[in-house]
């Protein structure tokens, strides 16, 4: 008998930049829920209003869009490290952030951390860690592409210096060089599977073989650049093919993300185990995801 299809959570994917084809393919590949961290959009923002509308979209339009393809959408809200370098703007964004943290689909503060490891980045990273403490929320930390190892270590030191419980912090974009220190310090280690750079999925198989599945999370970080929104289901399949026990695959590609972000009290398996049936006739502020197609309507069935 064929084994039951795996359920997948991609806990780091910038769906705002992806198409409806991606949503369809992800749902077909078993993705039941996604978490979209706030990030930069390629073009630097110059007005606080641009951030406001972006955050509003992450708690409004995008969850609606995802629901139209049967995927539950959550997000983390934060000021990204790159744009933290525009200090006057960053100060205005910092004022705005608290207004979003209590919204229904916001499961943490993220993605925050260092890019070039400048003093401004350091200042706003620390301020946001304090905000996380005030709200008792999980933190999703972006680690730098350049000078990664030092940047990762510094991110963790600063979290500890501010008194955060490492179990409340996920350190993202790890590689073979950083994973051990992250796990040893009690943080959650997330791995981004990129098609060409950073971690490829074969490397991920070896990481799980070596370090096991405890406190390890796989994500795609798919965004507006060359990236793969199917990275997590593809990696899950590759792990199974390479003899990684199914239990470890479930933990790294579903359960660990759920256990971690579920601590927010806002992310619950019943959201996708007993979902509202897809009904593409629905509208959000009078907008539809359809452009003249026949709406897809399914009965409310337990997947």
């Amino acid at each position: 008998m064929e084994e039951e299809k795996l359920m997948i959570i991609d806990p780091h994917v910038h769906m705002t930049s992806r198409t409806t084809d991606d949503y369809e393919a992800m749902a077909a590949a078993g993705v039941v829920a996604v978490i979209e961290p706030s990030f930069w959009l390629g073009q630097p923002r110059t007005q606080v209003g641009s951030f406001q509308d972006y955050f509003s979209s992450l708690v409004g339009w995008e969850p609606f869009r995802a629901s139209q393809f049967g995927i539950k959408h959550y997000c983390t809200i934060g000021l990204n490290s790159k744009e933290a370098n525009n200090i006057p703007l960053a100060e205005e964004v910092m004022d705005l952030l608290p207004l979003y943290l209590h919204k229904d689909n916001v499961v943490g503060i993220g993605e925050i951390g260092y890019d070039d490891q400048t003093p401004a980045e350091d200042r706003f990273f620390r301020e946001q860690l304090e905000l996380a403490k005030t709200f008792n929320m999980m933190v999703q930390v972006h680690t730098p592409h350049r000078d990664k190892k030092a940047g990762t270590l510094k991110s963790m030191e600063v979290c500890l210096e501010h008194g955060l419980d490492p179990g409340m912090v996920v350190i993202d974009h790890n590689n073979e060089e950083t994973v051990k220190s992250v796990l040893d310090k009690g943080f959650i280690a997330a791995f981004t599977i990129y098609p060409k750079t950073k971690m490829g999925n074969q490397r991920m198989v070896e990481v799980v073989r070596k370090f096991g599945s405890t406190n390890i999370i796989v994500d795609s970080s798919a965004d507006w650049g060359v990236s793969d929104p199917l990275a997590v289901p593809k990696t899950a399949n590759l792990m199974l093919q390479n003899g990684i026990p199914r239990e470890d695959v479930v933990k790294t590609c579903y359960q660990n993300a759920l256990d971690f972000f579920g601590r927010s009290g806002k992310m619950k398996p019943e959201h996708w185990l007993t979902p509202e049936a897809i009904d593409q006739r629905k509208l959000f502020n009078n907008n539809s995801v359809l452009r003249g197609q026949e709406p897809k309507v399914e009965n409310n069935k337990i997947l």
């Binding site: 409004g60 910092m94 705005l96 608290p98 979003y100 943290l101 209590h102 905000l131 005030t134 502020n285």
Partner: protein
């Protein structure tokens, strides 16, 4: 809005066993005011969700206005926060406007329901009028039903837009406040045009829709009232009775005499717009 209304909310928190939460909120308010910090205001606004229940409701009764609004403890805490901060520091008005701008549907409904209770409530007119443009019935009803804000702050064009849209969306018109007070000549024309359009299309009109025409009766209105009096729908005959009963126009009074089926009920107060 006065501080006595504030004490009224305090009593509600205390009677719900929220002493600790209230003292937390007071401390936060002091710290917001001494730092004059928008971020602190937003943090407190968000954190209220951790201290006050969203599932305990009560009827908030306004001191002078005859309206009550069903409120949760969480909504009341946020109302208390905004009231207190705005009374002490009116410069927070922009921060509160931004707060309303990013509200989700549930929060927006809460704001609209309580808009009248904010100090300098006219400062939030944009949000109130903007809510008329929505197609989300719960948001539209939050501003249009059991709400004294439109009657107090909307201009005639805005008020008429609300009234017409409520009828168009087939909402319960008995829940709109100040219908008699805000009746105007232009609205009478709008009502007639709408009625004629519906009749031409062979469709019906909510009889309650006629209420604002009483004080603006002319030949066209009389013609339509005569049509209502001869309607097979008892509610339309009752509506025509009530319109004529509160009219000062002599021809309307004459028309009522000729069609006196419900006149006594209207005079005795047995028949009203609420029980039509």
């Amino acid at each position: 809005m006065s501080l006595s209304a504030n004490r009224y909310l305090e009593d509600i928190f205390l009677s719900n066993g929220k002493e600790k939460q209230l003292s937390w909120l007071r401390q936060q308010i002091n710290s917001i005011l001494s730092a004059k910090s928008k971020q602190k205001l937003y943090i407190t606004y968000s954190l209220c969700a951790n201290h006050f229940n969203a599932d305990v409701t009560f009827d908030l009764v306004h001191e002078q206005q005859s309206f009550t609004v069903n409120t949760t403890l969480l909504e009341a805490a946020r109302l208390y926060l905004l009231q207190t901060v705005l009374i002490q520091e009116p410069n927070f008005v922009k921060a509160v406007q931004q707060l309303i701008q990013v509200a989700d549907k549930t929060e927006l409904e809460a704001f609209l329901k309580h808009l009248y209770l904010l100090p300098n409530a006219i400062d939030y007119k944009f949000a109130g009028v903007e809510a008329l443009r929505t197609n989300i019935a719960t948001v539209f009803n939050a501003i249009s039903q059991q709400n004294p804000y439109p009657g107090a702050y909307f201009n005639d064009a805005e008020w008429n837009q609300m009234y017409l849209k409520a009828a168009f969306m087939q909402q319960d018109l008995t829940k709109i406040l100040d219908v008699d007070k805000r009746a105007n000549k232009d609205l009478t024309r709008i009502i007639l045009d709408y009625a004629h359009e519906r009749w031409a299309a062979g469709r019906t009109i909510d009889p309650l829709f006629w209420r604002p025409v009483s004080k603006f009766i002319d030949g066209d209105v009389l013609h339509d009232l005569a049509r209502l009096f001869s309607s097979a729908n008892i509610k339309e005959r009752k509506a025509a009775t009530l319109v004529c009963q509160s009219a000062t126009n002599e021809s309307a009074k004459k028309l009522l005499k000729e069609n006196n089926e419900f006149q006594e009920d209207a005079i005795s107060g047995k028949l009203t717009w609420q029980n039509i």
